[in-house]
Symmetry: C2
């Protein structure tokens, strides 16, 4: 654990292209919260092209959870609009392989799985507003502790497209009740990174009955008396849609282990000009 | 002309669903700038499904000109996420039919042309920020005069996707030089309606050599000494891409004659919940 913390602290000193290089070489295989501050990080979904249109429409209809920030050409494992030399086969620290809607295994690179029928989708990520919150003096538990943010399935239905539907996944952070309005104001401008929270206060209202058992990520601590759980739409939502859809084959990032891009978090649009 | 002004002034008193009703019945066939204030209006592109993925990726890569706000299911002429009972076959005052990349004819409804292979795309429109500018006390020439905003082809290359590329189309409005910063600040928050201007000052810099001969819409007046031409990315850009692509069949709105939705212009996301 101490060794992991050391590696994470070293990774914190790297810029975005240095980080992609050590991830590509296999030197860094950890989670990416708190790394490469100021640069957009993204969720990743890779699908066969016959599912690509339905999936893209799914993202368009569920923009709070699935803000689409980049799409590859069919068969090309590159995301040219998000950065120089981004190769989706090697540049994510950990991938989930899904077969027939079930998690099959987790791997560190997917070069042997890529083929000319695949399309890669990059979806905005909450790490973007976290950096902004930290700059404004807020503390984020899971970053301080080098953990993965807790994520939960909810009872909020996604709008359907083709085989994709299911319910929204949310990420959770703890803030003082008095600070929630300020947190909302900071986050709402990040329209390609989930924007304002979708709920705060009562987890049961959105179908979360045990806050100490997240469906993805690490367990959170109990609240202090003046604190509240704040929930954001989460880019793991598409993986939830994949689970229900039973599509034959899908690759995603492992929740918390993101793709690091060359896009400034404050950019008006997520496109390298 | 006087009769048209009378009809336009009457249309100004209608709300969004009343307007869609008189457009659907054929009673109102005019342009829609200045109508149904506060409600999102959109550009429309209808394509055969084998071009839909490439086109959607084109929009994702060119979000200033092509902010995608709604997509139909394949074969369904409805945009359910943008409003109740929106039928793209009848709810736009004027349509352009393109065949093999050439403008074939202009019609007032397309019920006889719709088929189960078609997909409809709605793209954000500058009328959204115009309403906000008017609320802030600015005057918009073409609205005052019931004309269509002047639009120009430029030398700004779009990012390509499949057969879609070509150059950006811009719309132009005249403001006092001293007011440009204020105009930018008002417009920049409308990220699904072209956002901040892409240029002001010298039209030749973006490839416009005769400001008095727009490629679409009505001719503008000359500038006063303290005024400047301000240019926004325009939702007619996809029609320009269609012209170059030579896709066999495409239907669009006629520039200036938009689809009126039930989405509030100030909404965080363009989705009916």
């Amino acid at each position: 654990m101490q060794e992991q913390t050391k590696i994470y602290n070293k990774a914190k000193t790297f810029n975005n292209s240095q980080l992609r290089a050590v991830i590509r070489s296999g030197e860094y295989k950890g989670q990416t919260a708190g790394l490469s501050k100021n640069m957009l990080q993204t969720n990743l979904i890779i699908l066969e092209k016959n599912y690509a249109l339905d999936f893209m429409i799914f993202c368009q209809r569920n923009p709070k959870a699935c803000p689409l920030v980049g799409v590859s050409d069919v068969g090309a494992p590159f995301l040219k609009t998000l950065g120089k030399n981004i190769d989706v086969r090697t540049d994510v620290p950990s991938y989930n392989i899904y077969k027939n809607g079930k998690l099959h295994r987790t791997v560190h690179e997917i070069s042997n799985l890529w083929n000319e029928n695949l399309v890669a989708f990059a979806i905005g990520c909450s790490f973007t507003f976290e950096h902004s919150l930290i700059k404004h003096g807020f503390t984020i538990d899971h970053i301080n502790e080098n953990k993965v943010v807790p994520m939960y399935n909810t009872n909020i239905k996604n709008l359907k497209s083709g085989p994709f539907g299911n319910t929204m996944v949310v990420s959770m952070r703890i803030f003082k009740k008095d600070h929630v309005n300020n947190v909302i104001n900071i986050c709402k401008k990040f329209h390609f990174a989930h924007g304002r929270p979708i709920h705060f206060g009562n987890p049961e209202e959105i179908g979360i009955f045990n806050i100490f058992e997240p469906d993805w990520g690490d367990d959170p601590r109990p609240l202090l008396e003046d604190e509240v759980n704040v929930f954001w739409a989460c880019g793991v939502t598409p993986q939830n849609a994949i689970l229900e859809s039973s599509v034959p084959f899908c690759i995603s990032h492992t929740p918390g282990y993101m793709l690091i891009t060359d896009i400034d978090e404050g950019a008006e649009i997520p496109i390298i000009q």
